[in-house]
């Protein structure tokens, strides 16, 4: 473990990620108000009673931001989960398969790479109607190739080591080798990729909800808040800026965390 140092991106990113997680957790036990139309003036700017103001339907903005953190994390966890559960075995399989078959898998992977997350999600919502779950699955599928590719390159390095050769000589089958040697060695890469993909999922969900294809009305989401602020921008810009900042900070957090973690796990790469 020598040479591993905590770095600034890891710490700042980690803090931002924790903040989003904390907001989501807090929302389960406390929100300043209920998520409903309140008998108070609409479009208030931040003040003592409504710390982040109220929206054009007189709902408390801070309440929505806290509840929206749940949606954001939920989307990220499911999308990244789908991608990792399918992508990691594909990557390992491609690395361990003899010649042609591995190439074949990766070619297929490259073609799926041409389907951007957002495009796939829009297409799915055309077919199945919009909704958070559809969005998550589509974003997950579109992220599979990224996992498969990075896991394959990590696995290829492990497979050519002497201890894997020794393990093979000792009579261990491919499944045992994949589980005992390959998986533990690529898990770092998977976590880094998960962090980066989490950021992509957050961006895609925000965009979809903004387009009205993601999280439905009546369910708090940062992207939806942006959509709902659209017609009152000229007089209440804070209604776009606050959820916008929440999205940007969450994405920044996961990006920094991923970058920092990569440097932490592989100090040789630091600063590149």
């Amino acid at each position: 473990m020598s040479g591993r140092r905590l770095n600034a991106p890891l710490l700042i990113g980690g803090a931002l990620v924790l903040l989003v997680v904390a907001m989501a957790l807090v929302s389960y036990v406390w929100t300043p108000y209920e998520f409903k139309f309140l008998p108070v003036p609409k479009e208030q700017t931040p003040n003592a009673e409504h710390w982040l103001g109220t929206d054009r339907s007189a709902r408390d903005v801070l309440t929505q931001i806290l509840l929206g953190a749940r949606t954001t994390l939920f989307v990220g966890v499911v999308a990244v989960g789908v991608a990792a559960v399918i992508g990691v075995p594909i990557g390992i399989l491609a690395a361990m398969s003899p010649g042609g078959f591995g190439q074949f898998i990766m070619r297929g992977n490259d073609i799926l790479l041409a389907f951007p997350a957002l495009l796939l999600a829009i297409m799915f919502s055309a077919l199945y109607g919009g909704g958070t779950l559809i969005a998550m699955i589509a974003i997950g599928i579109a992220t599979i190739p990224a996992f498969a590719r990075i896991v394959r390159s990590g696995a290829l390095q492990v497979i050519n080591t002497e201890y894997v050769a020794a393990s093979r000589v000792a009579g261990h089958g491919p499944l045992a080798i994949a589980r005992k040697h390959v998986l533990p060695n690529v898990i770092g890469l998977v976590i880094v990729q998960a962090s980066v993909s989490f950021a992509i999922a957050i961006l895609a969900e925000a965009a979809l909800s903004y387009l009205g294809l993601g999280t439905p009305t009546g369910q708090p989401s940062w992207g939806r808040m942006l959509l709902e602020s659209q017609n009152v921008l000229h007089r209440s810009p804070h209604l776009a800026i606050i959820p916008g900042a929440a999205i940007a900070l969450a994405v920044l957090g996961f990006n920094l965390f991923g970058d920092g973690l990569r440097d932490y796990l592989d100090p040789k790469l630091e600063g590149r």
Partner: protein, 316 residues
């Protein structure tokens, strides 16, 4: 090298074919009857039967696929299922609008990112380099449509320097064209420039560590001279690869930004078709976008081959 190019081209054709099968298949896994989905759940059985008959939805899937793909290749796309408007002319018009937007954004992003990224690399141990680097990291985290919303809020609504949306073709009124292109192009470019600047930074940093650059310095060239004369060409190789990927993300980013600025491009066409449940139109637009991404990747590979002499000799 010609052989390598030919092989890459073959891979492109196969990829396009497989992608078209995927797009078609995604549309077929739709639960229920596509004709009923298109017309709405409350439509009459006769109307559904008529639509199925008119567009040959009763034929075997393979025949439908071949028919559709043939149409896409020859740009003979027929009419939309519900509105009966011809698809091809709309597609061409909208593609032109999106093309203007994406290319302007890409050029803007390059103009910003190349000098800023190089500066970030050269000054990576100084406060200004670190600060720029941090700003670019934040820029990457801001989605383009959010940048668009903020730009509209201030530059269009509050200060009224620019129109808040809409589109005027360049031939009709060049000044209005530029005014309406400015904000959407800038919102796409800001995000792309942040991303690109980070890649330029790491590519230049990589080159700065090379021995030949030290040799160039030792012959008496100043740091910037050494970099411009020997370094940038080498740094260009990884940057070109990233440019291709970026062009693809720009294309998709444009889908949302077009909605923010009410621009009648390919993205708005796609979203309108989704809303109107014009499934065949959605299928065709998705195919066009995926094909664009694959073709861009092919072009990047080609350029890559041309600018990196090491790749020309024939070994991988």
């Amino acid at each position: 090298m010609l052989l390598r190019l030919a092989r890459r081209f073959l891979v492109l054709l196969v990829s396009l074919a497989v992608a078209s099968v995927l797009v078609f298949a995604f549309m077929q896994v739709l639960p229920g009857d596509p004709a009923r989905v298109a017309l709405g759940m409350n439509s009459s059985d006769e109307a559904v039967a008529q639509l199925r008959e008119q567009f040959g939805l009763d034929r075997p899937l393979l025949v439908q696929y071949a028919d559709w793909l043939g149409g896409v290749v020859t740009l003979d796309l027929g009419v939309e299922w519900v509105s009966k408007a011809p698809i091809a002319p709309q597609l061409v018009d909208r593609l032109a609008v999106t093309g203007w937007l994406v290319i302007t954004a890409m050029v803007l992003a390059l103009v910003i990112a190349l000098p800023v990224g190089t500066w970030m690399a050269v000054r990576h141990r100084h406060a200004d380099g670190v600060l720029l680097s941090a700003i670019s990291q934040v820029g990457v985290a801001v989605p383009a449509f959010l940048a668009g919303i903020i730009l509209i809020t201030y530059f269009a609504k509050r200060w009224q320097w620019f129109p808040s949306g809409g589109w005027v073709p360049p031939a009709e009124d060049p000044v209005q064209f530029l005014l309406r292109l400015a904000l959407p192009a800038i919102s796409l470019a800001l995000v792309q420039a942040s991303m690109l600047a980070r890649y330029v930074r790491s590519a230049v940093l990589e080159v700065l560590r090379e021995d030949y650059l030290r040799t160039a310095r030792a012959k008496g060239l100043r740091p910037m001279q050494a970099l411009t004369r020997h370094g940038l060409r080498n740094a260009a190789v990884p940057i070109v690869t990233v440019l291709g990927l970026q062009l693809a993300t720009l294309l998709i980013g444009a889908v949302v930004v077009e909605r923010v600025f009410v621009i009648p491009g390919l993205g708005s066409f796609l979203l309108d078709s989704v809303a109107a449940r014009e499934l065949i139109t959605v299928q065709t637009i998705v195919m066009v976008l995926v094909a664009a991404v694959l073709i861009i990747n092919f072009l990047v590979d080609t350029v890559y081959l041309l600018i990196d002499p090491r790749l020309r000799v024939g070994h991988r």
